[in-house]
């Protein structure tokens, strides 16, 4: 069986409908558990209790970038293979990515004020994240502005390709430029401990919780987009009849 069979809307609705309760239940367990665990962690010797902001900031920032990468993959599938479900999935993911980017920006600013002495700095990572947020808004606006769904999917797909530069830049900006305020990656597969296990494991659980929340919302929103498309098609048929 080919993976492309799932790009069939009927098959997608059937499979996603069966998987959704399980994924939603896993998100409903992992996310609150991770956040409560993070909330209970002790004060950091440098950051004090502001370390608790990390359990929202890091997973939200991770999702902000990865959701755009997912949208890029879905847009490429649309542009190359013309599978409608992939275009609708990209559209469905955008508001989730925008909210995650906003959470990362706001929590970063609120953390930065007491730690860096400023809410905002035109630092490479912060700036590329702000541009990424603007790309999310532009992407959603473009979908809403074009009536023909296939044209909208084409143009937003191209916009997604362009925006990927900033998604990748926001991930690797701290490696390209050293003059920024933002520190390096909080977690890395490179040898050497960057973070105490007291913070690391609740952070892992929060990241898993955010990912499962995204997956749940993505499936619900993609199903909504498919239903809207079906409704529009039936209404158009009624008008023609």
């Amino acid at each position: 069986m080919s993976i492309w069979e799932y790009a069939n809307p009927v098959k997608f609705m059937r499979v996603s409908g069966a998987a959704l309760p399980w994924i939603a239940a896993a998100a409903a367990i992992c996310l609150p558990a991770g956040l409560v665990w993070g909330w209970m962690t002790p004060e950091d010797y440098k950051q004090g209790s502001t370390v608790k902001i990390m359990f929202l900031h890091v997973p939200a920032a991770m999702m902000a970038i990865n959701i755009w990468v997912m949208m890029l993959a879905a847009s490429l599938i649309w542009l190359i293979r013309r599978h409608h479900v992939s275009a609708l999935a990209a559209r469905a993911a955008a508001p989730i990515g925008a909210v995650m980017t906003l959470v990362a920006l706001v929590t970063g600013a609120v953390w930065g004020q007491p730690m860096w002495g400023t809410w905002w700095e035109w630092d490479p990572r912060l700036t590329s994240f702000l541009i990424l947020f603007l790309f999310y808004l532009g992407y959603m606006a473009l979908w809403g502005a074009i009536e023909n769904p296939d044209s909208a999917a084409d143009l937003t797909g191209v916009l997604c390709l362009v925006g990927s530069v900033f998604a990748l830049l926001s991930r690797y900006a701290v490696n390209f430029w050293n003059q920024g305020l933002h520190q390096g990656a909080s977690l890395s597969i490179a040898p050497g401990e960057r973070m105490s296990a007291v913070y690391k494991y609740p952070l892992y659980l929060c990241m898993l919780g955010f990912f499962l929340l995204f997956l749940t919302l993505l499936l619900v929103r993609t199903r909504t987009e498919i239903r809207r498309r079906r409704t529009a098609a039936l209404l158009a048929r009624e008008v023609r009849a």
Binding site: S49, I53, R221, R227, T231
Partner: protein, 48 residues
């Protein structure tokens, strides 16, 4: 158990509060839009 946030109570509570509003808002909007789309489709299918 009460957590002592010390002198950073305001930024911590602000960050968590705003994040909670944004994430819960996203969930509520997603579910509301889903319910609306489902009702609209059922209505059109019933007619047809």
């Amino acid at each position: 158990m009460m957590i002592e946030l010390g002198r950073y109570a305001v930024p911590v509570l602000t960050a968590w509060g705003i994040s909670a509003v944004l994430i819960v808002g996203l969930i509520v909007q997603t579910l509301a839009a889903s319910a609306r789309a489902r009702r609209a489709l059922e209505e059109v299918e019933r007619r047809g």
